[in-house]
């Protein structure tokens, strides 16, 4: 058991700050009611939060119909610091710079091949560039979190399929060059953090990502579950068909070989005997109700459903957010999957389309920056949903 020194680590301070971050404006009295903390306690904690630049007063609110003193509304001092997020894939890099509430300052995607030789420069040039424009703020850049499509453990990249980032110690290099807190995390895990940060209702959340690979990020009791070595939720390599097709991972019949976007497009190409067909062609063919495509998609849904059930049967979450280009284009598949679920003991599990799509991991990285900055491990605070959803 370690003792709390830093005031912001103090349990109740973080509870109060969470309530303030969670909504656009709130009064001391309301915080007291929501948390069960005494009014006097809330006043004292808020006094320190204001003193330390975390919170600002934005003026009086309206009194209720039954009268009474008007509340003094509080809000998080969102401009006290900024967060920088990167998402790195083998074929592209994107970044997002936001204030503390998630409001966008800058967002860019660049399609280019990423390697261990260009990643450091790609990142530092963005950071240096931004640093030069940054006017004085109490906290400055609170941290940089990098989303990696691969296995990450203890801030080290252990395995990156399709590229070679595992050959350098990215965090050490960047910490030296930037002199800022650097964090790296798996893409699916960060996506789950993002979904959880916007979901006030649920405690157990799975984010199921199917892009080039398939992975699940898992939030249990409001906290990210990373597993003992950062390998939790690697469902892409659980076996769907014993004795099925070979997978680069060494096993046979892995889910990823049947249900990743890549695999489905390949199957579509073989079905039509045309290797030039793209993802968009597949979607078009489906919407034209081409019967062989329909059948193929139906088979995909069955396989996908088994992979999904596999995760649900292990974790028993309340809700699963699905983040997949294919299911985004064919949303009725979600209903179909929900129908499959309704016939099992997991009928109460709710499937939802991810609201954040391809920006999920970037916002998850923002959440991680905030978590590290505030020294908390839960997601009981949130970014400003409105601000986030209006981006692009």
């Amino acid at each position: 058991m370690f003792r709390m020194k830093n005031s912001i680590r103090e349990q109740n301070s973080i509870i109060v700050l969470s309530e303030i971050i969670n909504r656009p404006e709130i009064s001391r009295a309301m915080i007291s009611e929501l948390t069960g903390l005494n009014k006097a306690t809330v006043s004292e904690i808020v006094r320190r939060l204001i003193e330390d630049d975390y919170v600002i007063e934005i003026g009086p609110g309206k009194s209720t119909s039954s009268g009474g003193r008007r509340p003094i509304l509080l809000t998080v001092n969102k401009k006290a610091g900024v967060s920088i997020s990167f998402d790195v894939r083998y074929d592209r890099i994107s970044y997002l710079i936001t204030y503390l509430d998630g409001e966008k300052i800058d967002y860019t995607i660049e399609e280019k091949e990423m390697t261990k030789d260009n990643i450091v420069d790609s990142i530092t040039s963005v950071v240096e560039n931004f640093k030069s424009t940054l006017t004085d703020s109490p906290f400055g850049i609170i941290g940089i979190t990098i989303s990696i499509h691969g296995i990450v453990n203890e801030n080290k990249i252990e395995f990156t399929p399709y590229f070679d980032l595992d050959e350098i110690d990215l965090v050490s290099i960047l910490e030296q060059k930037c002199d800022l807190p650097i964090h790296i995390e798996n893409e699916a895990n960060l996506s789950a953090l993002a979904e959880a940060a916007f979901d006030y209702e649920h405690e157990h959340i799975v984010s199921f990502s199917a892009h080039t690979g398939i992975g699940a990020g898992v939030i249990l009791h409001g906290q990210l579950h990373r597993g003992s070595s950062g390998r939790s939720g690697e469902v892409g390599h659980t076996v769907l068909y014993p004795n099925g097709v070979n997978c680069p991972c060494g096993n046979q019949g892995c889910l990823e070989q049947y249900c990743s976007t890549k695999a489905v497009v390949r199957k579509f190409q073989r079905l039509k005997g045309d290797e030039s067909l793209t993802f968009d062609d597949l979607v078009a063919s489906y919407h034209e109700k081409d019967s062989s495509t329909l059948n193929m998609i139906l088979q995909f849904a069955k396989d996908f459903g088994i992979g999904l059930m596999n995760v649900i049967g292990n974790y028993d979450p309340e809700v699963v957010y699905i983040n997949s280009e294919l299911l985004e284009e064919i949303p009725e598949l979600i209903s179909l999957l929900q129908h499959y679920l309704s016939m099992t003991i997991y009928k109460n599990v709710v499937l939802k389309q991810s609201l954040l799509g391809k920006k999920a991991s970037l916002y998850g990285a923002t959440v991680m920056n905030l978590q590290k900055f505030l020294h908390v491990s839960n997601v009981e605070f949130s970014l400003n949903m409105e601000k986030v959803l209006e981006v692009e």
Copy 2:
């Protein structure tokens, strides 16, 4: 955030008590060193624990080679209360009565068909019987926990295959009749609690039980993960062979239809064309190196391994305790499974034979009684390993 009233709920009290429960004897100075709490703080907390009958002093220890005052050794006041555990299957009921450290007072297995009509009497008669022999103790019976081979949620039995316990509200009935705290929990979950209570080293533990059904109990960050509706770890009904044999659960190709003890014996019977063959015959045939039996067991190991990998790929635990009659009789299969694992990204995950075997759930129930009694949700305290392993 709720305030702590009851002294024993107080964070640091429970930390100190855990250290005392965790070993046969310990001094105040050592507690101070282990926990980081100040000597004075430890003295005060221990004073209250002694006052409240949780702890006793057992006399002076030896001083170290470099001299100094001799320590006053402390130990948990194990006879201050007793725990009662039941394990209920469709075909038998067993119970275990222990002191607070897990030392056996009574243990009995009775083979009989259990139904909703006889379960209440079976339990109350044991409790009443024991109550009459119980001499005055500070806490008396601290609780009764019942292990159920079925789905349990919020202290209610929701589904029991092979029998009908889900038709009565067992906890309410027993609470009325016994006037004691009654808890019920799934068998696999309790087994996991038991394994974790004896495992000081690991934080993420899976207990994989394969008996009539297949289930996994999961300990994450030292706490039992039950899922949002008590259905976590229901791996018996994840799909092994898509389009495989029908399962009573409604799905096709469930793991349970291939790897439960029941399923394997049935397969052996068909293999040999003799329906009277038993589990023991299967084990004998294997040890006689009957080639068709060997092949069958090899196939079983492959299937079992896929089921296991499925769980590991989701949770990424540090260690998996396997509780299966078949693997207990053929322990070399564990090495084989470990070999399969070594070829995956989960090469660091350790497989172990359960030390507790068929008594795992009973000891897990004891742990649960202690957890509820002490108002804690972790297993950072333990039963007395020596005392437990000498039972029978």
